[in-house]
Symmetry: C2
């Protein structure tokens, strides 16, 4: 089976970063281009570029674009510029670990020894392009491994958007679904709308429709009822960070889906590249990004409540390991006990 | 402590039904008036009037208005009209049992022996006004009983709108919260927005703000995360139908809140008048209303996804008795075992 790349949300075009502004989907397909790392940083903050793997790739490309386009004639100046770009990009979003992983990988190349500015530029750009290419390869490998967990006739519930639009292309959890579909399995998807930013209703529905995969949209609070009707075969979600203990930090709402899945004995799978794994941070130290209250007070910019109402807006929640059936990575499918098996896969 | 009626969503004004069109809240406070049962039936279908107790009261008032304003000079003709009105109103919404309870109560008066048209009109109107008055009395009594379950400092999570706007005034679950507040307890409320129709964001926030009770709005998928942070003391929700087994049929999303509450050992209380209790229907025969897909495809009339995406839109879900800590009715607080204790309270 050959896998296809039908959607490319991030590209490197003549030394500039090109991205699909996903905030306009599914109503408009708007692409933007810039060589400025500040523009890319703002696009990440506004969630024009979103999804843990995608923001890592975008940050790498932004550092590369800064260096590629700089007039500076010394490696020292280019290095300083790259570090400034890295610092700025690092502050865009606090939760997804792929961002820091990609930035750190870029900085290792930035720090490598060379005194030739052209050689330096080439190395930095090559590294960013490698990160992008490897992300797609990892997605396809996860698709291959994960689709073995999907049976013909399965109805798969998914949350948020973990597709091509969340990565350099193809997708993580949605990549597994896409792979199963390419392999000819007759599957159906139930997509949660994923308030407040509606990645499910706007992005997952659009992506699956484009692919021709049957999808049914529900509101987030219908998951329990739908599972109690016995129609959900499996849950597949992505992750913004996976701890060494097996705790999965992912889009707000994931935890409630996992609780409902456990009650109804529906297998709950997480799909993420190993760059999402964080062996260092203990669960109590994880920073859960609190986003603007306006995201909750409005839907697509339009008020739905009183303008000054108090609001909580955590962007992520934490699913404990006992609710996770398995974690699909590009290096293999990890089963419990996670404390042992995650470290084994990452280090092995 | 004296309880107040600060909001009257339903009134009888000179032989006409007056209602607050809650679909326009919180942005506009629009009242409508009609003597036509067809107008009231459509207002119920469009959810201009919503909430299980409120639709029961509105149906009773609509039957009364039909009879009150009819030119007919024979009781037979008035009786036929009342039955036609009852039939139409019965078809508005299938799940809330208070609707059928109120209509049946009206029909018993319609069927009672009299040959004097004026006497007939008087009896029918009196019965509707009694149903309205008794609803408010039941709410206040539930407030009194339920507020004993609330401690100073509690943070109470609630779903949908179960306040004055869901009843003839005061409210069920929100009535208990209101009563505790009037009694001087320092409480805070966390309100779920309640997709798809956003009764939490639009109505509960408005009602609590009007009352001065502190409220924090969250999206439906944040409940698990908020509970895992340990900040929710208790859950109070309403019910559209409570079976003799203790199964609670209520607004979609209630079941997921109950599952999360159980996991985090948060008490889960249901507040509803005994007119909500249905001792006849087995759980497998309950009709869960499936509403228009447009409610899910849009938010307040504006598209959020592809126009033709397949959608599920069950308006209610079923919470099994093992997840319910207690049921507050106007006749007392009911604890498990529900099969015995519900029948005792209803019949006793």
């Amino acid at each position: 089976v050959r896998y296809k790349l039908t959607i490319r949300p991030l590209e490197w075009v003549n030394g500039r970063v090109k991205w699909l502004d996903v905030t306009r989907l599914p109503f408009e397909e708007v692409y933007k281009e810039s060589s400025s790392y500040e523009d890319v940083a703002r696009a990440i903050e506004r969630m024009e570029i979103r999804g843990a793997p995608a923001i890592g790739v975008a940050a790498a490309l932004a550092i590369a674009a800064a260096v590629y386009n700089a007039a500076a004639d010394s490696v020292d100046k280019l290095r300083e510029l790259a570090r400034r770009a890295a610092e700025r990009l690092r502050r865009t979003r606090p939760t997804a670990v792929n961002l820091f992983w990609a930035i750190n990988r870029m900085l290792r190349v930035v720090d490598s020894a060379t005194s030739d500015p052209e050689e330096f530029r080439r190395r930095v750009v090559d590294e960013a392009l490698s990160i992008m290419r490897e992300d797609i390869e990892a997605n396809m490998r996860m698709g291959e491994l994960g689709s073995k967990l999907i049976d013909d006739g399965d109805v798969i519930l998914t949350h948020c958007n973990t597709g091509a639009l969340a990565t350099a292309g193809f997708g993580t959890a949605l990549g597994v679904i896409r792979a199963a579909w390419y392999e000819g399995k007759k599957i159906r998807v139930i997509a949660t709308e994923t308030r407040p930013v509606l990645q499910g209703a706007r992005l997952t529905v659009w992506e699956l429709a484009k692919e021709g995969i049957p999808v049914t949209l529900i509101t987030d609070n219908m998951v329990g009822h739908v599972m109690s009707g016995g129609i959900v075969s499996k849950v597949f979600v992505g992750a913004d960070r996976i701890l060494g203990t097996g705790h999965v930090i992912n889009k707000i709402g994931t935890y409630m889906i996992a609780i409902a899945a456990q009650r109804h004995r529906v297998p709950f799978y997480v799909v993420a590249p190993t760059s999402t794994i964080d062996l260092e941070t203990p669960v109590d130290s994880v920073v859960i990004e609190e986003r603007s209250p306006e995201e909750v007070r409005t839907v697509m910019g339009r008020p739905i409540t009183l303008p000054d109402v108090d609001v909580m807006n955590p962007a992520f929640d934490i699913t404990p390991p006992e609710l996770v059936t398995a974690i699909v990575t590009e290096k293999g499918v990890i089963y419990p006990p996670y404390r042992e098996n995650i470290a084994k896969v990452v280090k092995g």
